[in-house]
Protein backbone atom coordinates (compact mmCIF):
# COMPACT_ATOMS: atom_id res chain seq x y z
CA UNK A 1 0.00 0.00 0.00
CA UNK A 2 1.47 3.38 -0.97
CA UNK A 3 2.24 5.93 1.77
CA UNK A 4 -0.63 8.35 2.18
CA UNK A 5 0.37 12.01 2.14
CA UNK A 6 -0.02 14.26 5.16
CA UNK A 7 -2.21 17.32 4.82
CA UNK A 8 -0.70 20.69 5.73
CA UNK A 9 -2.61 21.58 8.91
CA UNK A 10 -2.18 25.32 8.36
CA UNK A 11 -4.00 25.02 5.02
CA UNK A 12 -6.47 22.36 6.23
CA UNK A 13 -8.34 24.71 8.61
CA UNK A 14 -11.70 25.48 7.01
CA UNK A 15 -11.49 29.25 7.14
CA UNK A 16 -7.80 29.34 6.21
CA UNK A 17 -8.47 27.10 3.22
CA UNK A 18 -11.34 29.36 2.19
CA UNK A 19 -9.08 32.43 2.38
CA UNK A 20 -6.27 30.76 0.41
CA UNK A 21 -8.75 29.58 -2.24
CA UNK A 22 -10.15 33.07 -2.71
CA UNK A 23 -6.71 34.68 -2.78
CA UNK A 24 -5.58 32.17 -5.40
CA UNK A 25 -8.10 33.68 -7.84
CA UNK A 26 -7.63 37.39 -7.13
CA UNK A 27 -4.47 39.48 -7.14
CA UNK A 28 -5.30 41.08 -3.81
CA UNK A 29 -8.27 41.45 -1.51
CA UNK A 30 -9.01 43.57 1.51
CA UNK A 31 -10.08 42.40 4.96
CA UNK A 32 -13.77 43.23 4.48
CA UNK A 33 -13.93 41.37 1.17
CA UNK A 34 -12.41 38.22 2.69
CA UNK A 35 -14.62 38.42 5.79
CA UNK A 36 -17.81 38.81 3.72
CA UNK A 37 -16.96 36.14 1.15
CA UNK A 38 -16.19 33.61 3.88
CA UNK A 39 -19.21 34.61 6.01
CA UNK A 40 -16.89 35.09 8.94
CA UNK A 41 -16.57 37.58 11.79
CA UNK A 42 -13.86 40.20 12.32
CA UNK A 43 -12.21 38.41 15.24
CA UNK A 44 -12.38 34.94 13.76
CA UNK A 45 -10.95 35.79 10.37
CA UNK A 46 -8.30 38.08 11.86
CA UNK A 47 -6.90 35.18 13.91
CA UNK A 48 -6.74 32.90 10.88
CA UNK A 49 -5.24 35.58 8.65
CA UNK A 50 -2.52 36.08 11.26
CA UNK A 51 -1.78 32.36 11.28
CA UNK A 52 -1.50 32.31 7.47
CA UNK A 53 0.70 35.38 7.58
CA UNK A 54 2.97 33.78 10.21
CA UNK A 55 3.28 30.69 8.01
CA UNK A 56 4.37 32.96 5.16
CA UNK A 57 1.41 31.92 2.99
CA UNK A 58 -0.07 35.39 2.67
CA UNK A 59 1.34 38.88 2.85
CA UNK A 60 -0.41 41.92 4.26
CA UNK A 61 -0.10 45.55 3.34
CA UNK A 62 -1.48 48.05 5.83
CA UNK A 63 -2.68 51.22 4.21
CA UNK A 64 -5.24 54.00 4.62
CA UNK A 65 -8.26 54.81 2.47
CA UNK A 66 -10.14 57.99 3.29
CA UNK A 67 -8.23 58.04 6.62
CA UNK A 68 -9.58 54.60 7.51
CA UNK A 69 -7.07 51.79 8.03
CA UNK A 70 -7.22 49.07 5.42
CA UNK A 71 -5.43 45.72 5.23
CA UNK A 72 -4.78 44.30 1.78
CA UNK A 73 -3.91 40.61 1.53
CA UNK A 74 -2.06 38.73 -1.20
CA UNK A 75 -1.16 35.08 -1.67
CA UNK A 76 2.62 34.59 -1.54
CA UNK A 77 4.43 32.09 -3.76
CA UNK A 78 4.89 29.89 -0.67
CA UNK A 79 1.13 30.08 -0.11
CA UNK A 80 0.40 29.13 -3.72
CA UNK A 81 2.77 26.17 -3.47
CA UNK A 82 1.20 25.12 -0.16
CA UNK A 83 -2.31 25.29 -1.62
CA UNK A 84 -1.25 23.37 -4.75
CA UNK A 85 0.42 20.68 -2.64
CA UNK A 86 -2.61 20.52 -0.35
CA UNK A 87 -4.99 19.97 -3.29
CA UNK A 88 -2.64 17.35 -4.77
CA UNK A 89 -2.48 15.49 -1.45
CA UNK A 90 -6.23 15.80 -0.99
CA UNK A 91 -6.75 14.20 -4.40
CA UNK A 92 -4.32 11.39 -3.50
CA UNK A 93 -6.17 10.76 -0.26
CA UNK A 94 -9.53 10.76 -1.97
CA UNK A 95 -8.12 8.46 -4.66
CA UNK A 96 -7.04 6.07 -1.93
CA UNK A 97 -10.54 6.23 -0.43
CA UNK A 98 -12.07 5.49 -3.84
CA UNK A 99 -9.74 2.53 -4.32
CA UNK A 100 -10.57 1.24 -0.83
CA UNK A 101 -14.29 1.31 -1.65
CA UNK A 102 -13.95 -0.68 -4.91
Amino acid sequence: MPDLPELDQVVHGQLRLAVLSILSTVEKADFTYLRDRTNSTDGNIAAHLLKLEQAGYISVEKTFLNRKPMSIYRLTSAGRTALTNYIRNLKKLLGAEFNKQK
Binding site: H12, A18, S21, E97
Partner: protein, 191 residues
Protein backbone atom coordinates in the same frame (compact mmCIF):
# COMPACT_ATOMS: atom_id res chain seq x y z
CA UNK B 1 -15.68 8.02 1.84
CA UNK B 2 -14.09 10.66 4.01
CA UNK B 3 -16.78 13.33 4.21
CA UNK B 4 -14.35 15.85 5.65
CA UNK B 5 -12.06 15.62 2.65
CA UNK B 6 -14.99 15.94 0.26
CA UNK B 7 -16.21 18.96 2.21
CA UNK B 8 -12.77 20.53 1.73
CA UNK B 9 -12.94 19.98 -2.03
CA UNK B 10 -16.41 21.55 -2.07
CA UNK B 11 -15.13 24.48 -0.01
CA UNK B 12 -12.24 25.11 -2.41
CA UNK B 13 -14.60 25.05 -5.40
CA UNK B 14 -17.07 27.43 -3.75
CA UNK B 15 -14.39 29.90 -2.67
CA UNK B 16 -12.65 29.85 -6.05
CA UNK B 17 -15.96 30.68 -7.70
CA UNK B 18 -16.55 33.44 -5.10
CA UNK B 19 -13.18 34.94 -5.94
CA UNK B 20 -13.80 34.72 -9.66
CA UNK B 21 -17.27 36.20 -9.37
CA UNK B 22 -17.16 39.74 -10.60
CA UNK B 23 -17.75 42.24 -7.85
CA UNK B 24 -17.60 45.06 -10.32
CA UNK B 25 -20.79 46.37 -11.80
CA UNK B 26 -20.34 48.59 -14.80
CA UNK B 27 -23.82 48.86 -16.32
CA UNK B 28 -24.39 52.22 -14.60
CA UNK B 29 -21.18 53.56 -16.15
CA UNK B 30 -22.31 52.79 -19.71
CA UNK B 31 -25.73 54.31 -19.04
CA UNK B 32 -24.23 57.40 -17.36
CA UNK B 33 -21.69 58.20 -20.09
CA UNK B 34 -24.18 57.45 -22.86
CA UNK B 35 -26.75 59.78 -21.30
CA UNK B 36 -24.00 62.38 -20.79
CA UNK B 37 -23.00 62.22 -24.45
CA UNK B 38 -26.61 62.51 -25.65
CA UNK B 39 -27.13 65.48 -23.30
CA UNK B 40 -23.96 67.13 -24.58
CA UNK B 41 -25.00 66.58 -28.21
CA UNK B 42 -28.43 68.12 -27.59
CA UNK B 43 -26.95 71.02 -25.60
CA UNK B 44 -24.26 71.70 -28.23
CA UNK B 45 -26.82 71.66 -31.06
CA UNK B 46 -29.19 74.03 -29.25
CA UNK B 47 -26.60 76.45 -27.88
CA UNK B 48 -24.08 76.32 -30.72
CA UNK B 49 -21.30 76.13 -28.12
CA UNK B 50 -19.98 72.58 -28.37
CA UNK B 51 -16.85 73.28 -26.33
CA UNK B 52 -18.84 74.39 -23.30
CA UNK B 53 -21.53 71.72 -23.67
CA UNK B 54 -19.11 68.80 -24.05
CA UNK B 55 -16.65 70.18 -21.48
CA UNK B 56 -19.25 70.61 -18.74
CA UNK B 57 -21.12 67.37 -19.43
CA UNK B 58 -18.04 65.17 -19.69
CA UNK B 59 -16.50 66.77 -16.59
CA UNK B 60 -19.75 66.08 -14.70
CA UNK B 61 -19.73 62.43 -15.88
CA UNK B 62 -16.07 62.13 -14.84
CA UNK B 63 -16.76 63.54 -11.36
CA UNK B 64 -19.80 61.26 -10.83
CA UNK B 65 -17.80 58.22 -11.99
CA UNK B 66 -14.91 59.14 -9.68
CA UNK B 67 -17.21 59.62 -6.69
CA UNK B 68 -19.08 56.33 -7.24
CA UNK B 69 -15.82 54.41 -7.69
CA UNK B 70 -14.28 55.97 -4.57
CA UNK B 71 -17.39 54.98 -2.59
CA UNK B 72 -17.22 51.42 -3.92
CA UNK B 73 -13.53 51.18 -3.10
CA UNK B 74 -14.17 52.28 0.46
CA UNK B 75 -16.61 49.43 1.11
CA UNK B 76 -14.92 46.29 -0.13
CA UNK B 77 -12.40 45.46 -2.76
CA UNK B 78 -10.55 42.72 -4.49
CA UNK B 79 -8.58 43.06 -7.65
CA UNK B 80 -8.36 40.40 -10.32
CA UNK B 81 -6.29 40.42 -13.48
CA UNK B 82 -9.54 40.63 -15.44
CA UNK B 83 -10.83 43.67 -13.55
CA UNK B 84 -7.45 45.41 -13.89
CA UNK B 85 -7.31 44.66 -17.64
CA UNK B 86 -10.81 46.00 -18.21
CA UNK B 87 -10.10 49.07 -16.11
CA UNK B 88 -6.91 49.73 -18.07
CA UNK B 89 -8.64 49.44 -21.45
CA UNK B 90 -11.50 51.79 -20.56
CA UNK B 91 -9.23 54.28 -18.76
CA UNK B 92 -6.92 54.47 -21.78
CA UNK B 93 -9.92 54.86 -24.07
CA UNK B 94 -11.19 57.72 -21.89
CA UNK B 95 -7.82 59.50 -21.91
CA UNK B 96 -7.39 59.02 -25.68
CA UNK B 97 -10.84 60.32 -26.60
CA UNK B 98 -10.44 63.28 -24.20
CA UNK B 99 -7.13 64.21 -25.82
CA UNK B 100 -8.58 63.86 -29.32
CA UNK B 101 -11.69 65.87 -28.43
CA UNK B 102 -10.19 68.67 -26.39
CA UNK B 103 -6.81 69.01 -28.11
CA UNK B 104 -7.37 67.62 -31.61
CA UNK B 105 -10.74 69.28 -32.25
CA UNK B 106 -9.78 72.88 -31.31
CA UNK B 107 -6.55 72.44 -33.29
CA UNK B 108 -8.68 71.76 -36.35
CA UNK B 109 -7.25 68.31 -36.96
CA UNK B 110 -10.69 66.70 -37.27
CA UNK B 111 -13.93 67.55 -38.95
CA UNK B 112 -17.22 66.15 -37.62
CA UNK B 113 -17.05 63.05 -39.86
CA UNK B 114 -13.44 62.12 -39.05
CA UNK B 115 -13.87 62.65 -35.30
CA UNK B 116 -17.04 60.60 -35.30
CA UNK B 117 -15.30 57.77 -37.20
CA UNK B 118 -12.40 57.79 -34.70
CA UNK B 119 -14.79 57.76 -31.73
CA UNK B 120 -16.85 54.89 -33.16
CA UNK B 121 -13.73 52.87 -34.04
CA UNK B 122 -12.29 53.35 -30.54
CA UNK B 123 -15.60 52.25 -29.00
CA UNK B 124 -15.38 49.15 -31.20
CA UNK B 125 -11.85 48.49 -29.97
CA UNK B 126 -12.74 48.79 -26.27
CA UNK B 127 -15.91 46.73 -26.54
CA UNK B 128 -14.34 43.92 -28.55
CA UNK B 129 -11.29 43.83 -26.23
CA UNK B 130 -13.55 43.73 -23.15
CA UNK B 131 -15.71 41.03 -24.73
CA UNK B 132 -12.64 38.89 -25.50
CA UNK B 133 -11.28 39.30 -21.95
CA UNK B 134 -14.67 38.45 -20.42
CA UNK B 135 -15.32 35.71 -23.01
CA UNK B 136 -18.69 37.42 -23.58
CA UNK B 137 -19.87 37.15 -27.21
CA UNK B 138 -22.56 39.82 -26.79
CA UNK B 139 -19.98 42.51 -26.08
CA UNK B 140 -17.81 41.32 -28.98
CA UNK B 141 -20.84 41.63 -31.28
CA UNK B 142 -21.56 45.07 -29.81
CA UNK B 143 -17.96 46.09 -30.60
CA UNK B 144 -18.27 44.82 -34.16
CA UNK B 145 -21.42 46.93 -34.60
CA UNK B 146 -19.43 49.98 -33.36
CA UNK B 147 -16.76 49.19 -35.98
CA UNK B 148 -19.38 48.85 -38.72
CA UNK B 149 -20.77 52.21 -37.66
CA UNK B 150 -17.23 53.63 -37.93
CA UNK B 151 -17.00 52.31 -41.51
CA UNK B 152 -20.41 53.84 -42.26
CA UNK B 153 -19.22 57.16 -40.78
CA UNK B 154 -16.25 57.09 -43.16
CA UNK B 155 -18.07 55.97 -46.29
CA UNK B 156 -21.76 56.82 -45.80
CA UNK B 157 -23.56 60.08 -46.62
CA UNK B 158 -22.22 62.96 -44.51
CA UNK B 159 -25.60 64.12 -43.20
CA UNK B 160 -26.21 60.65 -41.72
CA UNK B 161 -22.98 60.68 -39.69
CA UNK B 162 -24.29 62.57 -36.60
CA UNK B 163 -27.40 60.38 -36.54
CA UNK B 164 -25.25 57.27 -36.71
CA UNK B 165 -23.29 58.49 -33.71
CA UNK B 166 -26.44 59.34 -31.77
CA UNK B 167 -28.02 55.96 -32.56
CA UNK B 168 -24.85 54.14 -31.51
CA UNK B 169 -24.58 56.09 -28.26
CA UNK B 170 -28.22 55.37 -27.50
CA UNK B 171 -28.19 51.66 -28.30
CA UNK B 172 -24.51 50.83 -27.66
CA UNK B 173 -24.18 52.75 -24.40
CA UNK B 174 -27.52 53.71 -22.82
CA UNK B 175 -29.55 50.62 -23.78
CA UNK B 176 -26.53 48.32 -23.38
CA UNK B 177 -25.86 49.86 -19.94
CA UNK B 178 -29.49 49.42 -18.83
CA UNK B 179 -29.41 45.81 -20.04
CA UNK B 180 -26.18 45.23 -18.09
CA UNK B 181 -27.71 46.77 -14.97
CA UNK B 182 -30.71 44.44 -15.22
CA UNK B 183 -28.37 41.45 -15.69
CA UNK B 184 -26.23 42.52 -12.73
CA UNK B 185 -29.29 42.92 -10.53
CA UNK B 186 -30.37 39.37 -11.38
CA UNK B 187 -26.85 38.05 -10.75
CA UNK B 188 -26.70 39.81 -7.36
CA UNK B 189 -30.08 38.33 -6.40
CA UNK B 190 -28.81 34.83 -7.17
CA UNK B 191 -25.40 35.36 -5.52
Amino acid sequence: MDQELLARIDLIERMVSQGRRSTEYWGWCFALWGTGQLTATAWATRSGRPGLAWGVTMAACGIITGLVMARKKATEQAETLVSRSLGAIWLCFGISITLLAFVGNPAGIFNERSFCAVFLALMGLTNVSSGIILRWPLQVVSGIVWWLAAVFAMLGPEKMVPWTQIAMIFFGEVVFGLYLMARERTARRHA
